[in-house]
């Protein structure tokens, strides 16, 4: 009887330890996949924004971009250092517009929608106008 109790207790501890390791392993793997996925979304969004024309005089100023995705929130906040005066987030400076039209400062955020594995990536980069 005593031996049975001893075995049950020992196996319970070992079982808990094994489960803990397995959970830790799966948790790390999930986080790794989430990070890889978030990074790929960030790269895609960056390429997409770098190919946009942010200085089209016929269109209104773009201050925010949202990309729809089921698993991630992808948003970009755009501010300008330029001669543009119609943008809300703009620093107007004196530039010789023949040579330079200024830059857009883009803050790109990719945030996971999962309530368990929270991940939020941020990258700031400049785009020549």
């Amino acid at each position: 009887m005593l031996l049975v109790i001893l075995l049950v207790v020992t196996f319970s501890f070992l079982g808990i330890n094994t489960l803990r390791i397995k959970t830790f392993q799966s948790d790390t793997q999930t986080k790794q996949y989430q990070k890889i996925q978030a990074n790929l979304h960030l790269e895609f969004a960056k390429k997409f924004i770098l190919n946009l024309n942010l200085n089209n005089p016929k269109e209104t100023c773009i201050n925010k971009i949202k990309i729809n995705n089921d698993t991630f929130k992808i948003t970009a906040d755009i501010s300008y250092i330029s001669t543009k005066s119609d943008c809300t987030k703009a620093t107007n400076i004196d530039l010789n517009s023949t040579y330079s039209k200024g830059v857009a400062t883009i803050d790109l955020y990719v945030e996971s929608r999962s309530s368990i594995f929270k991940i939020k990536l941020h990258e700031r980069f400049l785009k020549k106008l």
Partner: protein, 205 residues
Amino acid sequence: MKKSVILLELIISLAILSIVGIYSLVFINDLYKTNTQNYQMLNNKLDLQTTHLFIENKLKSSVKITKEGSGVSFYEEDINSFKNGFYSGFIQLGKSSKEFVTTPNTVISKVDANYIWFENNNMYKIEKKRENNKIYFQDVVSQKKIYEQYKLLKGQSKIYLKNDKLMFNDSIVLNDIKIFEVNLNHKHIRIKLCKSACYDWVIKR
């Protein structure tokens, strides 16, 4: 007769229990060893993954990456100051000279950087003057090649192997490393690292 039967039964029971007990202990011992090995393997794997991420992160936010011995040296960008909006990364070329550059939206007093870097690896040491929206060069005499966009750099850092320890400047990153080799080409950085096994990491530049 009855007593001897009971004694025999007792001996057989004890023998069975002993065998069960010994096998259980052997089984538990094996299970413990397997678990310990798994745990150590997992820890090693996590250490290597974390080191990989750390090196990748450092190199991706660095410029002037060069091979030094079997290790690598590089200049780290002051990413935090840029993300916090302490400097804009944009220069008004028309209002800049060989003494200073004019850069709007820059609170240089909050930035702790030593170098300014332009495309094509032009890099100059900067003076720590507290005048916002302007960055002064330390060398005000020589001609400079400047571009519209720039990065501010903190200083030179190194990742190298010393006495079987992988070091980042003066801090230990990993112990018991046998080989750490870095190879550079214009597109990738290839790192070979050997602990109990060897790993090849390729980082995109």
